[in-house]
Subunit: 178 residues, 2 copies
Amino acid sequence: MKFCSVCGAEVTLLIPEGDQRARHVCTACGCIHYQNPKLVVGSLPVYEDRVLLCRRAIEPRLGFWTLPSGFMEIGESTLEAAIRETLEEACARIEIEDLYTLMNVPQISQVHLIYRARLMDLDFAPGEESLETRLFTEAEIPWSDLAFRTNTLTLRHYFADRQAGKFAYHEETLHSQA
Amino acid sequence: MKFCSVCGAEVTLLIPEGDQRARHVCTACGCIHYQNPKLVVGSLPVYEDRVLLCRRAIEPRLGFWTLPSGFMEIGESTLEAAIRETLEEACARIEIEDLYTLMNVPQISQVHLIYRARLMDLDFAPGEESLETRLFTEAEIPWSDLAFRTNTLTLRHYFADRQAGKFAYHEETLHSQA
């Protein structure tokens, strides 16, 4: 950030009065431009004993498999974001069960929320951001071709919980990339 | 947003190729400036049968009571944010128990996370952003002087769950102000 989005003048990094952190502050209008972590929201769609994954048609991690998820938008709820991302990336309709994982990725200032969901029907297909969409049994999961560690951890929790017969909320902090 | 924070040129609202929503796009460098919801993270600190609240020294809702909470910062986890905000606003040390409520406030593009926590000792005091900090029993809660509906709902869930003898995660979407 080099310029003020309100007035177009240059910004400078300084600690505002009463604050403890350096912020981008406009040298002309004084506006403080805070930067905050972003929410990435998605779902873990389940159909009988299989889960739905999407193969990414876009960077980052083009060609790798992911749970349907993406940046939460202004004006929507986390539930709405999970349902919308699943529809956009996999043209799939889901019924949300519960919040399943919260994964902090402080290195890239993201918080990932994944909801456990029931896939309503088999009428799914790749959306614009996907090359392929497919249901996988546990044995079929392409572990070494998953796009993000947040997904890998969520899927590992899912199969372990399913084996144990009880699903519980999981929260983790990743100390490297997503 | 009127100017590009990268190059200082004017931005315009348009739907980028492959996108479905209008974004602020720079007329000179083409940078797309996404806007995303913000996370507000805090705690519900409990000491025996009482909960810790802070009376706000800043706007909005100056003079009203709140659970210690605030905007999550770049580079921290949600847990760290809850612990930091409790230390900053109430000079209080807590031990986090679990994620207790997630409150969507789409009208102001915020997602509030409150963790249930144990207040470690009675050595708390108002931080810079608080006028007063105090422990309240259920009967003493200043319901009509609470700063935010997200807090009111979280406290109502807390006392109902405590009465029922079982704490569960709660998620809600508020269709008006926080």
